[in-house]
Amino acid sequence: MRAGLIASLAGHSAILFWGLLAFPDAESFSVPQVESLPVDLIPVEEFTRLRIGERTAEVRDVAATQPSETEVEEPPQPTDRPGESQVEQPTPPTPSPAPTPAPEPQPVADPEPEPEPEPVAAPEPAPAPPPEPAADPEPAPEPAPQQEAAPAPQPIVTSVAPRTKPAPPRRTQEPPREDLNTEEIAALLNKVEPERQQGNASQEPASLGSRNGAQNVRMSQSELDALRGQVAACWNPPVGAVGAEELKVRVQFNLSQDGQVSGNPRVLNSNGNPAFGAAASSAVRAVMRCQPYSLPIAKYDAWQEVIINFDPREMIIGG
C-alpha cells in the first residue's frame, strides 16, 4: 500500500507541476475591435423611409419633402423671412396672417414686416432689384416663382441688406427662436400647414428610391445626418456669388462598400444662375474630398446610390 500511496502522491504533484507550466494564464481572446456607433434614440416618425422607386415619379427637390423637419425645428422661419417662406406658398391671402406675429418679437430684423405693404409694393419690384443685387442674394430667383411674394422682400432687403450679408441665413433665425413662446409657434404652425399642402402634395412623395427597392432597408436619421455632416464639412459653398442662397446643387453618386465614391458624381439639376457652375463643381469636389464615408455596411443597399442636395441654406440628403 505504501508503494501505491507514494506513487500516487508523486504522480499528482507531477501533474500539478506540469499544470503550472503548461497552463499559465489563459490567453485572452483576440477580439476584433468593434466600431462603436453613436446610437440615437429617436421617434419612429423621424426615420427616413426608402421606398421602392417608381419609374414614373418625377425628380423633385428633396427640400420639398422635408417640411416636417423644418416646421418643427425652425418654426420662426416664416416670421423671420416672410419673403422667402412665401416662395413655397402659392396662396396669396394666407401668408398675411402668418407673418403678423413676427413684428413683436423681432423689431430689428424687419422694419416693415407687415404683409399688407406687399401687394402695394408689387408694382415697384422691377426698379428695385438693380440697385442691390450685389448686396443681397435673395432677389434674383424670387421674382420668377411669384409676383406678390417676390416684391415683399425687396423693401425689407434694402433696409436689412448690410446686416444679412455677413451673417449666413441661419444666424438670422436664432434671435426670434428665443423670443417666441410655444403657443405662438403652435398657432403659427396650424395656420401654415394647410398652405403647405399645396406646395408639397404629400410628406413622402414617391421617390426614385434605391435601385434594389428593398423596402425594409432604412437609413436612420442620424446616419443620414452623419453623412450630411461629413460632406458639409468638406464643402466650401460659393458664398459670395449672386443669389448664392438659391444655388441648390443636386449631386448623385455611387458608393462602394468601403465608402469610396465609385465613378464620377453627377449633377442632376441646373440653374440659370451664372454662378451655378462654380457651385456645382464645389459640390462635386466636396463629395470627392470627403471619401471614404463610414456608413453601416449592413445597409449598403440604402446608401450605395446617394443623392445629396447641396443647399446653401442647409444641406439635405435624399436617398
Binding site: A3, G4, S8, L16, G19, L20, D25, D40, L41
Partner: protein, 235 residues
C-alpha cells in the same frame, strides 16, 4: 435626443492558473477542492496498489499451477510450502493438505466426513483470499460515484457566490462574471478528475478479482476431486 456610446470596458485582470483559481475561491469551494484532491490521491494509491497486487497474484497462481501439475508428490509440495506465508492457490493447497494431515494423525483416522471438511476449509480460504483482493475496491466505487456530486456542489456554491458578487458590483459585463464561474467550474473539473479514473479502475479490478476467484474455485474443485479419490482409495 440621448446619445449612448457603446464602450468596451477594460476587463479586470484575473489569473487563471491552477493556484490562482484555488486561492481566489470561496472557503467552502476550497475545502471541496482539497477533499477532491485528497480523494484523487487516495484513489490513485489504491489503483497502483491493486495493479501490483493482482499482477502478483496472477503470477503466483500460474507458477503454483505449473508446479502442482508437474507430477511432484503432494507431500513434498506441502512440506516446502507449509512453513511459508502463502496466498491464493498455495494457501488453498496448504489449508486442504493441513486438514488432510490432521485427519490422518492419531490412532483412528477421521475419514468419514473428511471430504466435507476439506471443502469447507477451502471455501473459507477462497473467501479470505477474495477479501484480500477486493480490499479497498469499495473506496474506488464510492469516490467514482460521489466525486462528481461533490465537485458539482463546489461549483454550485462558487457560482452562487459569483452571482452575489455580480449583484453587488451591479455590472453584467462578462469580464466580471467569467472569473467566478471559472473558479467554480474548477471544482467540477477536480471532481471529474478524481471520479473518472476511480470508476474505470473499479470496474477493471472488479472483473480481475472475479476472474481470480473463479480460477481459485476451479482449482479448489479439482483438488477436492483428487483428495476425494485418495480418501475413497484408502478407505
Amino acid at each position: 435626443m440621448e446619445t449612448l456610446v457603446q464602450s468596451t470596458l477594460a476587463a479586470p485582470e484575473h489569473e487563471l492558473s491552477f493556484f490562482a483559481l484555488f486561492w481566489q475561491a470561496h472557503i467552502v469551494v476550497k475545502i471541496v477542492m482539497i477533499g477532491l484532491l485528497a480523494a484523487s490521491v487516495w484513489c490513485w494509491a489504491i489503483i497502483v496498489d491493486k495493479i501490483l497486487l493482482i499482477g502478483r497474484t496472477r503470477r503466483q497462481m500460474t507458477r503454483f499451477e505449473t508446479v502442482f501439475w508437474s507430477g511432484q508428490s503432494l507431500e513434498e509440495l506441502y512440506n516446502t510450502l507449509h512453513n511459508r506465508v502463502n496466498h491464493s492457490m498455495a494457501a488453498l493447497f496448504v489449508a486442504a493438505m493441513r486438514e488432510w494431515k490432521r485427519s490422518h494423525e492419531g490412532q483412528r483416522p477421521a475419514i468419514g466426513s473428511l471430504q466435507q471438511r476439506i471443502d469447507r476449509v477451502m471455501d473459507v480460504t477462497i473467501q479470505r483470499e477474495a477479501e484480500r483482493l477486493e480490499n479497498r475496491l469499495l473506496i474506488l466505487a464510492t469516490v467514482g460515484s460521489s466525486a462528481p456530486f461533490i465537485g458539482l456542489f463546489g461549483t454550485v456554491w462558487g457560482i452562487m457566490t459569483a452571482f452575489q458578487a455580480i449583484a453587488a458590483s451591479e455590472s453584467t459585463n462578462l469580464a466580471v462574471v467569467a472569473p467566478g464561474i471559472a473558479e467554480a467550474l474548477f471544482a467540477t473539473a477536480l471532481g471529474l478528475l478524481a471520479a473518472i479514473p476511480a470508476v474505470i479502475a473499479f470496474n477493471k479490478f472488479n472483473s480481475d478479482v472475479g476472474k481470480a476467484v473463479a480460477r481459485m474455485e476451479g482449482f479448489a474443485d479439482e483438488f477436492s476431486a483428487i483428495l476425494s479419490r485418495q480418501i475413497d482409495e484408502r478407505g
